[in-house]
Amino acid sequence: METLTKIFSLSLILASFRFATPLILAALGGIFSERSGVVNIALEGMMLFGAFAAVYGSASTGNPWIGVLYSMIAGLSFAAILALVCVTFKANQIVVATGINIFASGITIFLLQVLFGVKGTSPMVNRLPAFRIFDVRFNPITYIALILVPVAWFILFKTHWGLRIRSVGEHPAAADTLGINVNKLRFISVLISGVLAGLAGAHLSIGDGSAFVREMSAGRGFIALAAMIFGKWHPFGAFGAAMLFGFAEAVAVRVDFAFIPSELISAIPYVLTLVVLAGFFGKSTPPAASGEPYYKGEK
């Protein structure tokens, strides 16, 4: 009984939002990228690098908002590499993104050593102030994430720009014959995903905490991808999936079950994703041209 009350307590729901924040942001990023036709499994690395950059920005200026700015630039820079190599030069997206993930893990550890002189955990830095709205206290990035969900939906489904992004992800040749610049749109979409993933990283290091810990993204970039797929590449769907995963994480961290190890609870998002991918909740169809570079004038 006590366990049940704990599960459905307000504090646990609020915790779910906090845990879901980086998933929401990165999943929205993933949606932009994949809707335009670029698979972005480098969200993980962008998030990690963003988390580090946020701490560095906060530490070097004392202003956590500068940290937020740095995190977005960090995500953007990795995204620029991905876009340049995969969109402009048409390299394999999975291989390049995997490279970025490995690079992110190495470079953050290296920079921890060089810039802070430590090995596993950075010194404490100024974190973002929490804002209180009624009884709810969240750091600003959570509010931003919540606002961005309808914004992303509006851009993708209500503007001409969104229509174009969706068309280049489904049938780039069709868009091209109508005079739409396929690679430019893809490049921009990948950059957007980088900014959002970087922001997700800032939430981890200076939103929800006040230090960088090595490998602190801990697979959240991949869970965000799962949320994107679970949500059928739709901002509201991805938001719902991210909340579910966030809730599972909150339960795993906050609630002690007598018989169930918390590791098993943490595994819920992964199990859910497998179930979804296997098609138990209706078919989840990715954008048709996702993952394929576009060659002009190919037969």
Binding site: F154, L163, R164, H171, I180
Partner: protein
Amino acid sequence: MPREDNYILDMQDITKIFPGVKANDNVNLSIKGGEIHALVGENGAGKTTLMNVLYGLYEPDGGQIFYEGNEVDLDGPEDAIKLGIGMVHQHFMLVEPLTVTENIVLGSEPRSGLMLDQKTAQKDVKEISEKYGLFVDPEAKIQDISVGMQQRVEIIKTLYRGAELLIFDEPTAVLTPQEIDELFDIFKSLKEQGKTIIFITHKLKEVKTISDRITVLRSGKSIDTVNTEDVTKEDVAELMVGRQVLLEVEKTEANPGEEIFKIENLNVNDNRELPAVKDISLSVKKGEILGIAGVEGNGQSELIEAITGLRKIKSGKFELRGKDITNFNAREIKREKVAHIPEDRQKRGLIMDFDLKENIILGYHDLEPFSRNGIMQYDNIAQYTEDLIEKYDVRGGGMESQAKNLSGGNQQKLIVAREFSHDPEFLIASQPTRGVDVGSIEFIHNQIIDRRDDGAGVLLVSAELSEVLSLSDRIAVIFEGEIVDVLKASETDERELGKLMTGSQAEAGGESNE
């Protein structure tokens, strides 16, 4: 300068070179305003390349383009669109999950503030659709509408952008006979409204029916431009191929032997699990061609897939030489000396990224002399490929080139070469000449008749009524998954078949008794 004043378009000495191929070699094409101009030529003659140059998709390596009297430089489709040139591609350029309206306005969307203005978009689509008699459902998704409607969406797309000159790349290849008639009505209505049409095809009947003038391309060069009324089909065919072509199939009376293949009470479902083939029984004898006539989508595909082991059957039985092969898989059926020319050569006939020698042994690759103890014998394969390429006149690439680089006709000849080279006793040919040029059609038809005369039984499925009529000895008419009649080819004609195919059975039966 354009060569004559009334030319809306004058393309002069266009040259386009792809690695290893001169796709267009000093091609000239001039189009008068308001005419329907047919651009004909065999597969690989450079028709589509020329049109892609005109639409700004390819940059020419030489030549000039004059549009409405001015020299133009087309850097991309947006330039062509601005001039008033629209193109309906052979493979539709439509985004499947988007709606008809979204597809039409894509790239030039009406906006109100930040938002895409759906209301105005739908109103514009409706206006054009009514003005030209192009019926579409503005709110339907592309993936849910028929091929004919998809084509109308493509036409509206060009008109929405103010096209005055419309290019159609093989528009009839994907249409049923009824839809082709509708398309030609649309052509006429566009012409009445002052539009100019360039129409790529290699179907001579269509050229004669609808065009005002004809330009013929052969091997990348423009051969001649003629007035349609001044020439016969045979003349055009000769210009296309460069030699005389027999448009009619020449064959001797069939000499049927014993029964080789039998279908009994076959029932097959389609992908949606609805009955597609209903209680069909048929039999094919040695040395005869049994044609199946029918409007596409009446169960032909499912029937062939069932026979060749590609689709599960609900009930029924197949016998080959008296042997029950009902539950054989595709490979086991092939090993019974059954050859299959599949209806979709790019999907089922070839592996497009494999080269010719790999494609030519597909399905037989594990047999001697192509492989020994599980190891491919490439010397033998190369020798074999060389022989077949020569014998079947496969042109456009050596044995190391990828199948996708061949023209449609040569791809089809490659399949024919593979399937006919293992002494087939029963031959299944599905749309054997779809999208194939006249020269290759003649060749493939002769090959099929040769097999028949060698004593093979042939089951032929074709959406081309004239092909079924001229090749078959007997014709079974299929309608909504049922065989409505089996006739002798020599005792029927297109009119009677046409009626049976569309289900007006009683009427046709009455007539044939007259």
